[in-house]
């Protein structure tokens, strides 16, 4: 009997456990989503781009204007990608590139935007057009004197009324105008003395560009010649100088020599192209090496093209 009771007891225990098991199966535990609210702020993708490097136009900085996103995938349309928020990217060169930004938030919701990016090479800067002061010598020696001249004279040339019959604006009037004159006594080079005269004028031009210096000269006749021939020389000096002694030994960017003795009043136009230096600071330096009177007029300096 006691055994039977025990067996019944076991049965009851078994049933009880079974009931519990069945009952517990009816419970539903709260799922993670229960009580949470829908995500109404979905990610939106947007960006802008700008060429931000003054030195290198190919570098484009992207500004991410996306909202409600946590991860970013950029495709620059060149095969390169980035996962930065605000990347910078160096394109190969000028052109239109299709850039795509894919974004997603923490729930894995994604958005995407594609923009065409126009990478433009900036225009070449305009070249400086320098003004040659008193280029027609109407003002006599004005604006052509160097500040000082150790062991020399700052007087640049002899003022002359036997200049070119062409006006500074290119108009040929047939009547002679003012000009600059060098003589045997004011000559330089191997004839250098305390009386040698040099015309000097400083300019600031665009660095590392091609410029043209244009001028007219005439030599009185071919009667006698100095060593190397009667000539007028126009040099472009590298830099600005305040003392003629320094200018004499200055590096020369370009030199033009006028040596055709066609006679007084018969002017020849010379044009010389030259490359400017890194600083853009240059000077015109003119002198004569001549036994016969030589004349110059209408000095012009301008960028090529």
């Amino acid at each position: 009997m006691k055994l039977i009771t025990h067996k019944f007891g076991m049965l009851f225990s078994f049933l009880f456990v079974l009931c519990l098991t069945i009952t517990s199966c009816d419970f539903e535990f709260d799922l993670p989503e229960e009580g949470s609210i829908a995500d109404n702020t979905l990610p939106t993708a947007a960006f802008s781009a700008s060429q931000t490097d003054a030195e290198d136009f190919r570098i484009v900085t992207f500004t991410n204007q996306s909202a409600s996103a946590t991860s970013y995938n950029w495709d620059f349309g060149t095969g390169d990608t980035s996962e930065e928020k605000d990347p910078s990217y160096s394109f190969a060169g000028e052109g239109v590139y299709t850039v795509t930004l894919d974004i997603s938030d923490g729930n894995g919701v994604t958005a995407s935007v594609t923009n065409e990016i126009n990478v433009i090479e900036p225009e070449e800067p305009d070249d400086i057009v320098p003004t040659v002061l008193n280029g027609d010598f109407d003002g006599g020696q004005d604006d052509w004197k160097i500040e000082s001249f150790t062991d020399g004279t700052t007087s640049p040339f002899n003022s002359s009324s036997d200049g070119s019959p062409v006006d500074y604006d290119g108009n040929d009037t047939g009547a002679k105008t003012a000009g600059a004159k060098w003589t045997m006594g004011t000559s330089a080079a191997h004839l250098l003395s305390g009386n040698s005269r040099f015309a000097y004028q400083a300019f600031t031009v665009s660095p590392n560009k091609t410029y043209v210096v244009e001028w007219e000269y005439a030599i009185k006749n071919d009667a006698t010649d100095v060593t190397g021939g009667d000539r007028l020389v126009l040099q472009i000096l590298d830099g600005h100088y305040s003392d003629g002694k320094d200018a004499l030994t200055a590096p020369v960017l370009s030199e033009t020599v006028g040596d055709d003795a066609l006679g007084k009043g018969n002017f020849t136009v010379l044009k010389t192209e030259f490359e400017t230096n890194d600083s853009g600071k240059i000077a015109i330096w003119m002198f004569g090496v001549t036994s016969e009177d030589a004349y110059a007029d209408n000095i012009k300096l301008y960028p090529k093209g």
Binding site: S50, A54, T63, N64, A67, D86, P122, E123, P125, D126
Partner: protein, 471 residues
Amino acid sequence: MNKLYNIAILAISMALISCGDDYLNPSPTSAISEAGYFETQSQLESGVINMYDGIQGVNSTGTNNNRAVQIEFYMAEMLSDNTRTKSFEGEAAQFESYDVKSTNGIITDYYRSMYDIIFRANTVLANLEVATTKKAQFEGEAKFVRAYAYFNLVRLFGDVPLLDRVVDPLETDLQFTRVGTSQVYDLIISDLTTAAANLDNSYKTRASQAGAQAMLAKVHLTLGNYNEARSLCESVVGAGFALEPNFKDVFYNEGNDEVIFSIGYLSDDTDDSQNFSSEWLNAVGRTSGVNYVTDEAVTALDALGGDRTAYSYRVDAIQNEQHQVVKYLPNGDDALGIDAVSSNPVLAGNDWIVIRYADVLLMHVEAIMAGGINTVDGAAIASFQAVRDRAGLTTVVSEVTKQQLLDERRVELAFENHRFFDLVRMGAAIEVLSEYSTNNGYNFSGTDLILPIPQREINLSNGVLTQNPGY
């Protein structure tokens, strides 16, 4: 019986009269209210003055007041590489570190101030019919002031709600719907065009023709309309303004020939004084010192300022490693020969210059440069040279590069609320501010070029107003 009849008639008459609107909505007799106030031209003129009072702002240290132009430097200078807080702390330091929160009380104040000014201008425009002889003038002034406020808003906040008339409190759709910047600029251009046509140059502390032309020139530069900007600048150049020979006098000789439009303040007057001058000093105002000059700006001024440097910044006498702005000092500087402007520096009377002639000359250069990287144009060089000559920098210039123009604007107009706008307008903001931010350990990204819409406004809109990206 007859008597009773009379009483009845009287009662009925009274009843009929009392049915009028005035009984339910009486006009107050002890105070002035807008309803029914604007009946004569002189009354409307007080409404016109009220607009400038709005720009002037309240001399207060609390963000619940509309402080308007008195707090503009936080955005226009401290958000640039020119200035910062002295102690790198507090809400004000959010600007220099490019960490401005939408809850920032200063931007909330400024945004609200601009719409307050717009409301005041729209009120004048709504009552123009009472004007007799000055109708065109008042219309011009109101439209100038409205354009001034929108130009500031659109440059700082991007797309903004556009209110071109007085709105009802219930018209929430208008109040909280942001419209595109191009639509805002359309209104600004149309307002300034009307102002330039209707006004003359009688005033410096009220709107003028030259003021409207100069501001319109800057709007066109911002939009890249360089030809329009150039001809507007040339109109102002021909209007008889001139550079003050001595740079100091621009700021300490009020109403001088260089000033085109300024906001007037009166010294030691609680209603019409300003406190920004004292906030820029060492713990004279409420802050320990804001709008202090950055090392970067000191370097630029030392290198390029010429005669302007001494009157632009000085060493802080209390903390020698710090630098203060010298323009608009309220309590003078003996060493520089500047007299005190007010006996109480917190109630300063220094006028705030919005537009001056040097700005127009440099805008002229910018218009001719037309977005390029340099100009060798003679007219541009002449304008540029004029500004430099006054500063004692008389070396003859033969070209102006974009970088030189940006630098020249920085040192000529330092701390006059131009720098941030100049950097953005000339397309240099991301490059310059990224480098500045990196060097100083700040937090700049491209989205910082537009401020957040104040959270308070978004809350008021029940979420209709959208936030700018990056906030």
